[in-house]
Amino acid sequence: MTLVQKARLKSLWVVHFDCGGCNGCDIEVLAALTPKFDVERFGIVNIGDPKQADIMVLTGPVNHKNKRVLRDLYEEVPDPKMVIAVGTCACTGGIFHNCPNILGGVNKVVPVDVYVPGCAARPEQIIDGVVLAMKKLAGEAPEEDE
């Protein structure tokens, strides 16, 4: 493992985008930054600028209006990048599965690396999800068998 790869695992900058969920997960993502959980311990910063981000944290189901925004945002994040779908609606659509303007989970629009379940996902689960993403970045994730 090169030095850059090692550094990458210790400095994950997050860009967070709400695709139209209920805000529950969004405030939990924010709560993960605050003193009780403080993800900055792992070098995780909510950077807000897609051009410098490593991890996309997506919450909420995708609708027809913001799928274009989401795709643009995904394109803007430089490689190597990880996409974490936080919350039930971001994974599959969850309770909004039969709403007419909903496409379903964010995996309908962008490839997702880690799925974090929960409605709303708890900060502990979000931290676990980031740890999984770190493992995948380090190449320790199990191979996809398709």
Binding site: L3, V4, K10, S11, P35, D38, E40, G48, D49, P78
Partner: protein
Amino acid sequence: MALATPLIGGLLMGVDRKLTARMQERVGPPLAQPFYDALKLWGKTVMIDSSLQPALAFGYLGFALVAAGLVTFRQNLLLVLFVTGMADICLTVAAFDAKSPYSYLSGRREFLAMLSYEPVMLLAYTAIFMVTGSFTIRGIYEYGAPLLLVLPAALVALEIVLVIEMKKSPFDVSGHAHQELVRGVFTEFSGYTMALIELGRWTKLATTMMILSLFWAPSPVIGGAISLVMFFVVLMVDNLYPRLTWQRMLRTTWAVGFALILLNVAALAVGGVIL
């Protein structure tokens, strides 16, 4: 020595983040966090808006390194000021060059920030010249007595400069104002260009700290301690104040900074230390 300045600056940035986190009742990142960030940014794919951007990023780091070198070799302070100014101009032009409105606005604000702190620095250097009779750092060393005893108010004025230099509230109008401008002047940099900018910032921070330590020139240890205390005060102020507008920044720096230095000089003139 000049090449070690980015390392010192990076470490200071790490201390900054750790202390800020502790002031906010958090654990905070490890001390080496800025180095991890810079290394990671170096390995990322880069997205370049305009071909000028990488050149300007290199320019920013280059000028910052030259300024650091000038300080280590005890050269002219005015020269240091102008070279740092060149570095800032590189950053501002790069921000203007990008097509993002955030970048443009913060480039404008960065320019105003330069406009507000550079005259204060210039005035402070002039005061130093009036005391020591020389603009060079060597002259300060040869002056003998610690400058802090003769120019205490000028040091306070430079504290305001340090706040702007480190892009800390209340005057972080261009760099850290993520509520208004996402990432400010850094919005459009990515990958290695951002890493270069980070390195440049560390260098500049270390340079400013070295200049501050000149206020106790005979002993670098006491001088270093003074600059570290000033660094700590900046962190405290950062956590005590919300961000103010650039109009307020310009007014405060000019009014308070100029007044402090001029008062100091006037007091010296009355006391018969100079002239």
